[in-house]
């Protein structure tokens, strides 16, 4: 099972077409393993990126160095996944 401990989802808001192009280029850097949950589309519209824990620093440096604003949408993906599993287990027990 693939775990996502420490992975974060960053909500990024590009302010220009140039920044959108930079975000797309970021997605093409295979070694950064960025997974776009919501793709960059237009300036002002949010894009969401899941970033593995081991690549977080590099991605945040990239965003900051290009002046691209972001916030942390999901602090730890695995925590939410664990919560989802707990909910499903509970639901199954209730059904039985």
């Amino acid at each position: 099972e693939q775990l996502f401990v420490g992975d974060q989802v960053l909500r990024v808001v590009a302010s220009s077409e140039e920044q959108i192009a930079l975000l797309r280029a970021l997605g093409e850097q295979v070694e950064l393993q960025v997974d776009f949950w919501r793709d960059p589309t237009k300036p002002g519209r949010p894009a969401d990126l899941r970033v593995p824990f081991s690549r977080l620093q590099a991605v945040k440096i990239f965003l900051e160095s290009h002046g691209i604003s972001y916030s942390i949408m999901i602090e730890d993906v695995q925590q939410l996944l664990d919560e989802e599993k707990r909910t499903m287990m509970l639901s199954r027990r209730m059904e039985r």
């Binding site: 099972e1 693939q2 996502f4 989802v9 909500r11 295979v30 997974d35 776009f36 949950w37 919501r38 793709d39 589309t41 969401d48 899941r50 949408m73 999901i74 993906v77 939410l80 996944l81 919560e83 989802e84 909910t87 499903m88 639901s91 199954r92 209730m94 059904e95």
Partner: protein
């Protein structure tokens, strides 16, 4: 019996497939289950057929879950199929609709991916087919259709989430739908449901040229998102795929439109919070509930505007 199912929870593929049988058993004169093919890993591709009789009636195709990690869509599919069955004979709009139109509903369009999200990787999006010459698995089934195949917004890299595949309709999950819709010959609408950007979109995605029916599709989308918002205030944007997001080639709705299905739409359901694909199960029923009037707007429009 179908109502003993917990619609407010996420379910495995097996649970959903079992529930389909229950729905069919509960509504034998309305709902049947047909198999339109097999997935790459040989799982059955099931479609629920809602029909009150007649041969080759005008039909609507609905699908949810072509991107397997978008769990709220499969869950919305289950709720919606149940709603159609329960409302027939009670709600005049649904009754009139199903007295004249057949509905084909594929709730788990990418079963291999969906099973994989439960067993190994909750965030898996693509199919599970092996790509020759690459260690990366899977094709994006919403870039695999023969409509601008391989162009902008899709990737030729098998490791990409938007990998378009080796050729159009290479994925059996896609080809099975293509074959079914073509052989049916009377599908008048297609609605493909995704999550989580809160949008209602229509062709084209692979080019910026407005579709010949742009004005009508746009007006109907406007009404649908307005009626959706009236339920809980959830705001949707709408428009052509190319205008609303970006150029995206090889998508389901473009293929449908170019193959004569005039009313081709794709929904992007909720996240009204900050959960993305990990939308809490407590939001399943609100999501499905608010989507229902928008879906019904499109279905009724199709019924009332034969072509």
């Amino acid at each position: 019996r179908a109502n003993q199912f917990n619609f407010a929870s996420y379910h495995t593929l097996e649970e959903i497939y079992d529930w389909m049988d229950t729905l069919v058993a509960d509504h034998p004169n309305l709902v049947s289950k047909i198999q339109i093919g097999e997935s790459y890993e040989k799982r059955p591709l099931y479609v629920l057929k809602f029909s009150t009789g007649g041969s080759n009636r005008p039909a609507v195709w609905l699908d949810t879950g072509i991107h397997s990690r978008e769990w709220v869509t499969q869950a919305t599919g289950v709720w919606t199929a149940n709603k159609l069955a329960e409302d027939y004979g009670h709600d005049p709009t649904v009754t009139s609709l199903l007295d004249t139109v057949d509905i084909f509903f594929e709730i788990v369009t990418n079963p291999d991916g969906y099973a994989f999200t439960h067993s190994s990787n909750r965030l898996w999006r693509k199919t599970r087919s092996i790509n020759a010459g690459s260690s990366c698995i899977g094709v994006d089934p919403n870039r695999n259709w023969d409509a601008g195949f391989g162009d902008a917004g899709s990737s030729s890299n098998p490791c990409s989430e938007t990998y378009h595949g080796p050729y159009a309709h290479s994925e059996s999950e896609v080809k099975s739908i293509v074959d079914f819709i073509k052989s049916h010959g009377n599908v008048k609408a297609l609605i493909s449901i995704h999550s989580y950007s809160q949008m209602l979109m229509f062709p084209y995605g692979y080019k910026r040229t407005p579709a010949p029916d742009h004005e009508e599709l746009n007006e109907l989308a406007k009404k649908a998102v307005s009626d959706l918002a009236a339920v809980y205030g959830t705001k949707y944007t709408y428009g052509s795929i190319a205008d609303t997001i970006y150029l995206a080639a090889g998508t389901t709705v473009d293929w449908a439109y170019e193959n004569g299905v005039k009313y081709s739409y794709t929904f992007e359901l909720r996240d009204t919070g900050r959960y993305g694909f990990l939308l809490p199960s407590s939001q399943i029923i609100p999501t499905a509930t608010e989507t229902w009037p928008a879906l019904l707007d499109i279905l009724v429009h199709v019924q009332q505007h034969p072509y």
